[in-house]
């Protein structure tokens, strides 16, 4: 396995810029996620790593070595496609041994390698089946085995859960996460599903409109989003306009001591996660306008005294709250994060 890095990479298609000056370093054995809305450039970034697209500017490196102009067949990368792209004219075993064969690995060794992988993925009994006859989950595993069979520098996963149903997705998420941990494979995982990325990746890169918005561990991204976009894309966020003066955060309806490290003066946007809003006693009153029962909890929207909207999470013990009620709330200064306004 290797370190893989994109250094100031830009990719243009005619007049549009799909990837704009992006730098990502993936450490040896790390699982890196790229998330973002569709069209944000995440798939292009993956294809640049694989070599299907050539960068317009910048460098792609494996272990510090410049591979920017090496075609995909000589890069030695494993790729699991969204559709898995298994070869229907071959059996599962032939699919898995195809890559080693192309790399002139001996007959015995490639068989051993493939069997080992199939066993590891718990699909050895499928070896002689035609991929067409497999379920989505099985196909995914075969795709994974095929990608790993060439012992790649990096494993690339392109939305590998898209075709599966919700329940299966959840099981596979755990299994795949565990597997990637065990194998210590350097992995790039591209998805639009932030929950998948949060649960499976060591670090996440959030992309939007070709730009890299933030890169960090899941908790960093969730708790200290760099800007409004990241705050809004990862989880639910309340963004409130405030003025800060002399370490006092002024909401207009209440004041708090400003949080330590993010001290600035002037107007700013702060983020508060719904689950950080303490409901019960407090100085602020919220008028509830909408309620969404979600099973484990109730998500509510309310209006603050100055008219800004606030999303909060109610415990099920508050199940008798109805729209029109007023609730008292409080913010903990530690839970308020000042965000650079993107505007």
């Amino acid at each position: 396995m290797s370190e893989v890095s994109l250094d100031n990479v830009t990719k243009r298609f005619d007049s549009t810029v799909a990837v704009n000056d992006v730098s990502i370093d993936i450490d040896d054995g790390e699982v890196m996620g790229i998330v973002g809305p569709s069209g944000c450039g995440k798939t292009t970034a993956l294809r640049l790593v694989a070599g299907f697209e050539t960068v317009s500017e910048g460098t792609v490196r494996y272990d510090g070595e410049d591979v920017t102009h090496i075609p995909p067949e000589n890069r030695n990368v494993g790729l699991v496609f969204q559709s898995y792209a298994l070869f229907n004219n071959m059996t599962v075993l032939q699919n898995v041994t195809f890559g080693p064969k192309m790399h002139d690995v001996g007959k015995e060794e490639r068989r051993d390698r493939a069997c080992e992988l199939l066993e590891l993925l718990d699909i050895e009994e499928l070896a002689d089946r035609n991929p067409k006859t497999l379920s989505g989950g099985q196909q995914q595993r075969v795709g994974l085995a095929r990608a790993l069979a060439i012992e790649p520098h990096i494993l690339l996963l392109d939305e590998p859960m898209t075709g599966l149903d919700a329940k299966l997705k959840q099981t596979l998420r755990q299994e795949l996460g565990q597997l990637l941990d065990d194998l210590e494979v350097t992995t790039l995982y591209v998805t639009h599903d932030q929950e998948q990325a949060m649960s499976m990746c060591d670090r996440i890169a959030v992309m939007n409109d070709g730009h890299l918005e933030q890169i960090g561990t899941p908790s960093e991204i969730y708790e200290q989003p760099a800007n409004e976009f990241v705050a809004g894309f990862i989880g639910t966020a309340n963004l409130l306009e405030v003025t800060i003066e002399d370490e006092q955060v002024s909401f207009g309806f209440t004041e708090l001591d400003a949080p330590g490290p993010q001290r600035v003066d002037g107007t700013a946007t702060v983020m508060i996660r719904p689950d950080d809003v303490r409901v019960g006693e407090g100085p602020v009153s919220v008028e509830i306008t909408n309620l969404f029962y979600q099973g484990e909890h109730i998500q509510a929207t309310g209006l603050l005294p100055d008219g800004q909207k606030l999303t909060l999470r109610l415990d099920r013990s508050l199940g008798d709250v109805t729209t029109g009620d007023s609730l008292s709330i409080a913010f903990d200064p530690d839970d308020i994060h000042v965000i650079e306004s993107t505007r």
Binding site: E73, N74, L86, N88, M90, F98, M102, R146
Partner: protein, 351 residues
Amino acid sequence: MFDLYRRLSGALGRSSGNDNASGNEARTDGGVVSDRSVPEPGSESDPGPLARVGAAVDRRLGSDFLESSLFWLPPFLLIALFVYGAIIWNLLISLTDYRGFANAPDYGNLDFEMYTRALADPGFIDAAVNTLILLVAFTGATLAVGLLLAILIDRGIRFENAFRTIYLLPMSLSFVVTAQFWLWMYNFNNGIVNLLLGTVGIGPISFLGDQTIVLWAVIFALMWQFSGYAMVVYLAGLRAIPTEHYEAAQVDGASTLKMYWRVIIPQLKGATISAAVVLMVFGMKAFDFLYSLVGGYRPPNGADILATKMVREAYANLNWAYGAAIAIVLFGMALAVIGPYLVYEYRRNNL
């Protein structure tokens, strides 16, 4: 399942058309009257006797049978009469001693005389062998060229449309026309092929006069004409393979050549079979070509095929029964190739 839904939506569609008709929706679904009647509100009364008969038939054969038979039966019968009926008739003629034109064939005295005669006729054996060579070589060569062109044209080439049109152009030409310029091209003295070969010191070759060469010259001309067709079929086959398969082979380290040989071409089996079957049929049309090449019943020596022999026997030699027997042999050859294909596809539920 689908049928139920169709009936349901059918019932819905109809009841909205005649809201003020009597409330009882008679279950004459798909009957001739109910579905195709003018959808004016209130105009539909009780189903007539015809519809009742229709309903009875429907219960037996499925709801759509009667209404649809109006549409599929004509082609079914036309083909029964003009193709299968004609073939059986042809078979009958081949069992008589009919010589053609005078009166009618005598169907009272049937035997296999014409077939034994064929087996003893060296001209027939030659023609049969030539037909086999022509079909196999023509189909194989055309598929190969078509595949090459399709691979080259696929995956984003500029002017793809122009290339496709050009390659298809020969297929739309009559053999009467193409035979003309192949005559010129192959001409011994001033044919362009011999002129070209002459510049590299070969020839001149008598393409149409040499018995060992003429068949191959004909095969090349036919390939020239139909490789565009093979290309179109292969192109459709290639387009049905997802891009990911190319990319998967690539990241697995396959070179372009290996990618096509091991991953892409094996997936073109379906396209190959279907193109081959249609090419066989085109190959049988070589008659038109050979006929136009000489403007008469007798093709160049060494290029006689069953089709030309059959027409010659029937119309020039007035041996209708013999001609019919040759036609049946030709038909049998086609069936030997196409029959298994049809059965195979039928069993696989592809038909």
